[in-house]
């Protein structure tokens, strides 16, 4: 602390000037970023200037709205479990076995993340409608897992690459079977990666509108779909829209707060790779 003061005293005028400029720009940035969010949340909690939870209590009263919320939770939860399973198994396979064709597969997966999913959804819709999967939870969940897998497979592989092979070999020498190894050593060490995968899969599924707009029907519709309906009305009911908007923001934001320390490290990992 005293060293800081000494330095500050030495460069007083210049450093203070720079700091003020930095704070000013950051202030502007964060007002533009957080302003709309806080403003919207605040407005959703007010009626004629007084605090109210009425818009949220309306969810209980409106059976359609309630079912949209339940659908969102169900679809996002199952998608998250499915994506975590598919991506961790695959990521471990990619990381530990020098399989023939691995590079080709990795390149394909890397590129497929950038493919236009609106093109992909055309044949998916046609096949699903032949299999009577349109308008079912299974159809939407499969589509959401597809959205998440290309990226999460990469994350999983990168995380398993960081678990030293020697550790596994040592454990195996001590008579540890593959399954125990996975449960006791690999999964705990790769836990941050798995948490990130879960966050990503959940967020993608929870917020998706594209897939839902094609593959869902009345009783499977999720909250983003409901929001779209409200937004397209001639006189959009802003109170209800803000309540849905706020409700949609809460789970991903909380989830992000949980995984954020690993997230920033992962971004750094991309930098040094």
């Amino acid at each position: 602390m005293s060293a800081m003061f000494a330095r500050r005293a030495k460069f007083f005028s210049k450093r203070t000037g720079v700091a003020l400029a930095v704070y000013f720009c950051l202030g502007l940035y964060f007002i533009l970023l957080w302003g709309p969010i806080l403003w919207g949340v605040n407005a959703s909690l007010q009626e004629n200037g007084t605090f109210t939870l009425q818009r949220y209590l309306d969810f209980e009263k409106d059976p359609k709205l309630k079912s949209n919320l339940q659908n969102s939770l169900l679809v996002a939860t199952v998608t998250t479990l499915g994506t975590v399973l598919v991506a961790t198994l695959g990521g471990y396979g990619l990381s530990r076995f020098s399989l023939p064709g691995r590079t080709a597969l990795l390149t394909t997966v890397f590129s497929s993340r950038m493919f236009p999913f609106i093109l992909i959804v055309i044949p998916i819709f046609l096949v699903f409608s032949q299999l009577s999967l349109v308008g079912t939870y299974l159809g939407v969940i499969l589509a959401h897992i597809t959205l998440g897998v290309p990226f999460t497979l990469w994350v999983a592989k990168a995380y398993f690459d960081n678990v030293p092979r020697e550790l596994e070999e040592a454990a195996m020498l001590d008579g540890c079977g593959r399954w125990t190894l996975l449960r006791k050593i690999i999964l705990p060490l790769a836990a941050p990666g798995i948490a990130l995968i879960a966050f990503y899969a959940f967020t993608i599924s929870w917020g998706d509108y594209l897939m839902v707009s094609w593959l869902s029907q009345e009783h499977v519709n999720t909250l983003p779909f409901k929001l779209q309906e409200r937004l397209q009305e001639r006189y959009p009911p802003w109170e209800s829209i803000l309540a849905i908007t706020t409700l949609l923001m809460i789970p991903p934001t909380l989830f992000f707060a949980l995984v954020q320390r690993w997230f920033v490290t992962a971004l750094g990992g991309r930098a040094t790779r």
């Binding site: 700091a19 930095v22 704070y23 720009c25 950051l26 533009l32 957080w34 709309p36 969010i37 403003w39 919207g40 598919v86 198994l89 695959g90 471990y92 396979g93 990619l94 076995f97 590129s111 950038m114 493919f115 236009p116 609106i118 093109l119 992909i120 055309i122 044949p123 046609l126 096949v127 032949q130 299999l131 589509a143 897992i145 597809t146 897998v149 290309p150 967020t203 929870w206 917020g207 509108y209 594209l210 909250l223 983003p224 929001l227 779209q228 937004l231 959009p236 802003w238 803000l242 908007t245 706020t246 949609l248 991903p252 934001t253 992000f256 971004l267 750094g268 991309r270 930098a271 040094t272």
Partner: protein
């Protein structure tokens, strides 16, 4: 014999990869091939009691030749390209600025870093909800505020051709600039501090240190980010679908929404697939040189 050896040696590996491969092949690669086939066909439907029965009549490149004579398609293509050309550089520039600001060793800055990604975390649907509310034509917050400071206040931001496209760009930038910022910040923090110390001793100013140390170190990361966001911006359907739906009068029609119109209004699935194929082509135009460059970087001398 050889197959058998590969199976016993790699069997478990392939088994673990099986679900992921199924997803990638069945739900991404196969549909891509299928859609490219549709783009060479006229697709017709007959409604059967159980789902749709479709027939493809091969028409060669007819859908594609039609595309180049379709002014609405060309306009959508132009909009998509302008969106990329406006949004991605803005995201990069603002992100770089944010990264430099957040890289300062000052009080509160570490806290701000944690708060910077919120716009990227919330669903696109939520973001559009907030923006449409703030920018609502009559008594939206922005208009009320503009009225107070005497700058009109009767703007129909999403409803006028003059401003609607700008709103789409704005929403893209608002969402992705902080993500650029935090990624570039992570990249900056991975640069060895000694480089900066040495440069300072040699008398390099802040600008020189940025141009000769920071930028070259960030080049790889920046390229990854830019390629990814070019693809995202070209592909994204949700911003426009939830706000203007291509309107007013086609002012915000982009390729994904035009594809959607072809499917759900004109039921022209083959033509829609051709629109999507053009999107895919544009993206590959960006991705392939990047992959090639990355490969060279990895195997060649660094």
């Amino acid at each position: 014999m050889k197959t058998r050896r590969i199976l016993t040696r790699y069997g478990l590996g392939y088994l673990l990869l099986l679900p992921a491969c199924l997803v990638v092949f069945v739900f991404i690669l196969y549909p891509i091939v299928q859609a490219l086939t549709y783009s060479l066909c006229t697709v017709d439907f007959t409604k059967k009691p159980k789902g749709l029965e479709l027939t493809c009549t091969f028409t060669g490149l007819e859908n594609y030749t039609r595309l180049w004579q379709d002014p609405e398609f060309l306009r959508a293509l132009g909009h998509s390209l302008s969106l990329v050309a406006l949004a991605v550089p803005l995201e990069f520039a603002l992100g770089m600025g944010l990264a430099l600001l957040l890289n300062q060793r000052l009080r509160f800055v570490p806290t701000l870093r944690k708060l910077a990604l919120v716009g990227w975390v919330i669903p696109i649907a939520s973001q559009v909800g907030l923006f449409r509310w703030m920018l609502a034509p009559d008594d939206g917050a922005v208009n009320v505020w503009l009225k107070q400071i005497g700058l009109g206040g009767d703007w129909n931001w999403f409803g006028e051709p003059a401003t609607a496209f700008g709103m789409i760009v704005l929403m893209h930038v608002w969402r992705n600039a902080p993500f650029f910022g935090l990624t570039l910040l992570a990249g900056m923090q991975a640069i060895p501090q000694e480089l900066y110390d040495a440069a300072r001793i040699d008398g390099a100013g802040a600008r020189e240190r940025f141009v000769y140390i920071t930028l070259p170190y960030l080049r790889r990361l920046a390229t990854i980010m830019i390629v990814g966001h070019v693809a995202f911006t070209l592909n994204d359907y949700e911003f426009v679908a939830l706000s203007t739906r291509g309107g007013p009068a086609g002012a915000t029609e982009i390729l994904p929404t035009y594809l959607n119109v072809q499917v759900w209004t004109d039921y022209d699935w083959g033509y829609a697939s051709a629109v999507g194929a053009v999107m895919l082509g544009l993206i590959l135009l960006f991705v392939i040189p990047f992959l090639w460059w990355q490969e060279r970087k990895e195997w060649g001398p660094s």
